[in-house]
Point group: C2
Chain length 362, copies 2
């Protein structure tokens, strides 16, 4: 029963098919596919016609097996839904397209175990390299960097990192942001930072040392330089998520002496904060100024339009891909350090920041 099922299941044309139709050898077909110049125009034409007639697409899998390279790279991000990463992905895509690389996208979902699994799958697929914003640098560095496998970190790197990476100058970015607030006349400035939201910390010896520490440090530096105290009720740890920003916002607003400005280190938390401000009917920037990290379409349409520090997210993707391809095509010499590219962020002043209210001045 069911004898003739799957007989010739829509087999895709192979080089041999093309060769047969064009009445040449597979070697010749291969030559025209890889456009070696050693094929006469007439023959080439015949081959190309045959390819078109058969709708032949070279089997990249077979080619990969032979050439030992797949023209595919893996990209693992902690959260595809975060607009920052979305924008980086876009940059990677663009650059990849131009350089002939496809990208396999993996969402690690901020889960370190998942990340390990994803990496393993990428290895199996024999990607030529990996782009990663890792939740666990230690493991990733150990498994990849030491093995001389082409890998470029972006957004986050481990402490004392020696490989290739593309990063934002977070310290300078947040320093400038807070300085701007200070110049506006603010003195009671709160910071809404992320907490350690990675389980990675439980078992890894290295702290994430991602953007978080640098952003806090920039705040600290600016405050200290102005000889302003950093009072602990103004130092809030969120969860990098909307809910945390909302909660911290309510707490800040409920303080006996609330801050006149808040520097929010993360886009999602900024949203939560604005939600709290709107709900409590506090005037922004009249009563409280808000300066957030990351700039997207929606921040300018907010009410009020948000002043932000804009990372060059798309550019970060492009550069990361560029460096990766460079490494793939000419591996780094023995014992050489990788290159770390640092991107500047830009302060975009809109209307959520202004001078502090009267009673807020010294």
């Amino acid at each position: 029963m069911a004898m003739m099922t799957k007989k010739t299941p829509a087999r895709r044309p192979t080089m041999a098919d093309v060769a047969r139709l064009a009445d040449v050898s597979v070697g010749t077909v291969s030559a025209v596919v890889n456009d070696s110049t050693t094929v006469r125009a007439r023959l080439r034409k015949r081959v190309e016609d045959a390819m078109a007639a058969l709708d032949y697409h070279p089997n990249e899998i077979a080619r990969s097996l032979k050439l030992q390279q797949t023209h595919t790279i893996g990209m693992v991000v902690p959260d595809v839904a975060n607009p920052f990463f979305t924008s980086v992905i876009r940059g990677v895509e663009m650059e990849g397209r131009e350089r002939g690389y496809s990208v396999i996208l993996c969402d690690a979902n901020n889960d370190i175990e998942e990340e390990r699994r994803q990496l393993s799958i990428l290895f199996s697929h024999r990607v030529d390299g990996v782009l990663i914003s890792s939740a666990n640098f230690h493991a990733a560095e150990d498994r990849l960097t030491r093995r001389r496998f082409p890998i470029v970190f972006f957004d986050r790197t481990p402490l004392g990192f020696r490989g290739d990476a593309v990063l934002t100058d977070n310290l300078m970015a947040s320093y400038r942001a807070v300085r701007y607030l200070i110049e506006l006349g603010h003195r009671r400035i709160a910071i809404l930072s992320g907490g350690f939201n990675y389980s990675a910390l439980a078992d890894g010896p290295l702290p994430p040392a991602g953007p978080r520490a640098a952003r806090i440090e920039g705040y600290r530096k600016a405050m200290q330089e102005a000889s302003f105290p950093i009072s602990s009720p103004y130092f809030k740890q969120g969860d990098y998520k909307l809910a945390g920003g909302y909660q911290c916002g309510l707490e800040l607003l409920g303080l006996p002496e609330p801050p006149t400005a808040v520097f929010s280190c993360n886009n999602l938390m900024t949203l939560g904060l604005m939600g709290a401000i709107t709900e409590r009917q506090v005037a922004c920037p009249g009563q409280i100024s808000v300066l957030g990290f990351d700039d997207f379409d929606w921040v300018a349409s907010f009410n009020p339009p948000l002043t932000t520090v804009a990372q060059q997210s798309c550019e970060m993707g492009r550069k990361a891909m560029e460096v990766l391809v460079e490494r793939i095509e000419s591996p780094v010499p023995e014992g050489e350090r990788g290159q770390v590219i640092v991107l500047e962020a830009e302060l975009r002043v809109r209307r959520s920041t202004g001078p502090p209210p009267r009673e807020g001045r010294s």
Copy 2:
């Protein structure tokens, strides 16, 4: 010169290496990798240890070549940066992970020529199937559906489509949205729709028939049912982008008799519209109510929080992947129609909608 470059360039362990180390045959190693039950526990253990010691990852490329399937699918979206697609991608990722498929992401950038190229690359990579929100159904349908290549459309489909697809019930969604506005007492209701922004239209016989037509139709139906006139100044065509929404918003607000409510068919245009409203200092929802399409983190944090129609974007991704895998693993019988899954959207009432101002009532 340079005699010994690339000598053994960090060769990855192969099955033969594992077999040698475990002192078994490759056949046995293969058996444990594919966990055939025909391997004794003791032997299996030895093989697994060897794999771990060598950090062996099965070569998925070789396996793909042999098995004629890559466990990889291609996903092409018109715009990776659009939060709607981001969310769909997330769903696809999740479902793919569970079912053992990796996804190669392609951003067609709303460019039809680019889409064609991406599809060709995906074919070359021998993806097992494709998920697509196409800018050009005609070409895509022709090239894929007719060839019995597993493909699932999402978000947008061609008119009279007969294959597999996962869609939102856009007509019902917008009908309900507009009805809600009508029940609130509005009568002068404007619609902010997208225009034909795809060059596809120039050469294809089929209109995109994406969400656009259905959303307009829902509006028309609700208005007609209430016997309200659809006045042409209230029927705005944007460009699906922020700038277009802003521009249309200004025009709407500048009308001698401005609408008391606006139904915006696209998330980016909603943002532009809100920008215009904020800038003109028009009270929302006091003077004008706004109801937008698509629901994301930021809409609830807006001032005022936006009332929206929420598509099940993540679910759309999951379902699309589910159907695709189903097709891959058991191809549709000759002549059978594909299945079209329709997802309901949900109205999320927040504070950007309210009754019309006094002078707006009949």
